[in-house]
Structures are given as C-alpha cells and as structure tokens.
Amino acid sequence: MRIMFINNDGGGYADYVEVAAGTTVDKFFSQQIAGGKAEDYLIRVNRQPVPRDYVLQEGDRVTVTPTKIEGALAA
C-alpha cells in the first residue's frame, strides 16, 4: 500500500512510499530513520499523534520531525 511520508529530518522531503500491510508506526520509523530514536522525533499520522503500535493505512500521511536540532552561528 502507499502512504504519504514527510520527512523533516536533514534536507526535508515529501513523497509517497510503499509499505507492507500491517506495518506499525514504530516499524515504519525504524525503516525510514536509520539509527534514529523515536523519542527524539515528533511523529504525526494524519496530523494527529498516534500510539507506537498504530497500524498504517492506505493513504495515511506520516510526518516525522526531529525535536532536537542544532542551531548555528550565522556565517
């Protein structure tokens, strides 16, 4: 099935991705954000917070945004 994935980590992008039926949010996060800790990200499905074991549905909109980003000094 296909879902909309918006990844605000790094450069940020939005695209449709294929996921297997029965994939939970937790598993999807592990697949997409290698090495990332879920507690360091704001995860929303269809703009709403969901439990880790929420099973993704066709056409869902998943947003992953890091909550710990290092600012910098202007060059």
Binding site: N8, D9, G11, A14, I69, G71, A72
Partner: protein, 388 residues
Amino acid sequence: MENELSGRRLWQVAGAIRDRLHAVRLSRFHKAQGQIQGLASDLAELESVRRKLSLCVARSWTAAAGSLMDEAARLFRSLNFTSKDAELGLNKPEVAIPNVRDVLEELLQAEEEFEGLRYYPEDQILAIVTDTIELEGIYLGDFEVQLHIAALGDPSFRSLYRVVALDPHPSVRNEAVTHPHVSEERLCAGDAGAAIDTALAGGRICDFFILVRSVLTNYNRDSAYVTLEDWDGAACHDCGSVMGEDDTYYCTSCDNDFCGECSSCCSRCDETTCLGCLETCPVCEDSVCSGCMTRCPECGERLCRRCREEARCPCLNEEPETQEEEKHDADTSGIEDASERGEADGTGGTRDPDEAATPVAAQAAEEGAGEDRASVHTDGLGETALLP
C-alpha cells in the same frame, strides 16, 4: 486575544499563503521562459551566421569568413552559459503547491500544536508562541515565531521570519542575542535550514513552526552567538564579579578576563593589563607590563624600557656625579691659585668671571703666552685640548 486567528480569518490567511506560493511558482515559470527565450535568440543568430558563412565560403571571401568565425565562437560561448543556467533552473525539483484546504489544515494543526495562532493583518504576519524556554538552567523566556507571508518566496530569506523574545532575557554580553542561536530576532537555523526551506516552499506551515521550535529548544555550544556559560557575563579572574561584554578587559600578559576595577593599562605600550601583571618601575614609578620591563645592563636592576633607553638607572648617574665633584675640586683649586697669583702681581686677585670659570684654560694661556703655534681650549669639564 485580539490577534488570535480563528474561523473565517483562518480561511483568508490560508488563501493568502496559497496565493503567495502560487505567485512564487509562477515567477519560476517566468524565469524559465526568459531563459528559453535567450537560448532561442542565440540559436537564431547562429543560423544567420551559418548562412553568411556559406556565402563567404562559396565566394572565397576569406576575410569576411574569418570575422564570422569569431562571431560564431562568441555565440557558442553564450549558448553554453545560457543552456547550463537554464538546465539548472529547469531541473530544480518541482514542489507541489497545496490547495487552500491543505494550507488550512496546516494552520489548524499549528493551532493545536502551539495552542493558538496569532495573525497581524497590517504586516501579514502569522505567528505562534513557544512555551517558556530554559536551556541548561538559563531562563530565556517564551518566543514568538513570526512568519511574514508577503515575503514567502522572497530571495532575501533573512526577512522571511523572525524570532521575537516576549519576555527577553538577553545575554549580558550582547543585548541583541536573546537565545544562543538568535541575534537581532534572526534565527540561525543550522541543521534545520534546508528542512525549513523545503517546508515553506511546500506550504507546510506547521512543520515550519515545529522545526523552528526544535532549534529553539536545543543548544549547540560549539556554534552559539553567546555560549550559555557566558550568558550572564564572565567572572572577573581576579575578584570574581560578573562582567558584561563592554566591561570585560582581556589581559594580554596572563590571557584572562578582568573587570575594570582589576585592570589598567601599561604606561609604555598601552596594552590592557591586569593589576597583578603590572609592575612599578623603581626609577620612574610608572605602572608597566612585564613585556615593557627589562634590566639595567650595568647593575641588573629591574626598570622599564624607557628608563633603560634614557639611561636613567641610578647606577648610571653615579659616574657623572663623581666627575662633577672632580670639576668642583678643580674649580676651587684654580680660584685659589689665581687668587694667590693675583695677590703676588698686585691685581688683588680680581678676575674675569669667564676666566674664573675656566681656570685650567686661563692657567694654560698664561703658560703659553707669546706662543702662536697652539691655543688652548676647554670643553667645560676641566679637560683641555690642543687645537691646530
């Protein structure tokens, strides 16, 4: 609250954002149109050169053909540049422009995430307020993140959004720095920069606000305008009092920061120096830094460079005093001798004052009277010399 955004106004703002993004996209097409037009003009000119060159070759007009070759080379260079520029512009990833409902959903989500949205219609500013931010025990207060809708797509990115401290607790070192990564209300987004650009280009307003908040709630010590360690000012290395940036003095001798009370400057080189590193020159009694102190080459006593250059060490003054004493003795004996002679020749010892001041010369003149071969000269120190 007066500027709270809700109901019909939400729709209007969503429409304004969508229109602005649409205008940005349209401007991109306008730019591409201009680039393609430039390419087409160069190609038309090249075709004209080709026809003329064919004629020149057929009629063996070599001089004209040479000029046309130069013209063709110029056109190829122009084509190369224009085509590369156009290719870069055309290959930029296409960002889907959301419809008004999508933007409205973004606004509603932001309203939920931040417990309210603010809108300032006169400046077309959409804003959220963060919770109170405290980093490593330093209270920074809450911030209003202001997005200037009219500036969306504006190349001068710096004016697109501002981070305004609502309960400012700026650094003592720099009042314009209200957060380690905010100076003059501008956030240096660091690692979030690209994601913020992408979110705004796609009209993902809520994601933009969340990304800014993620930067504000974190601290990167290695790249802060002012580090949190120095937020409330650095401590004076001597007395420990907290100092602002304008009240901090760096001692060039010991490489530490000091307050105004604990620092001064070297009387010789004017370098800022802490009181502990200043020495008092025993000769002139000026306060001098260690770099401007030296030793007397004669006696080894410490004194400042100026006193050394001017030979003011007490040990150097001893010799002239001895000479002075010798001169005084010589003067005294000369006057006594002359007085004795005056008594003998009946002048009663009365003498010209200059003569009295140079008794040796006078005596020598008397001894050499009538001799033209040499004259006697005095240098004022009781020494004599023969002049030719």
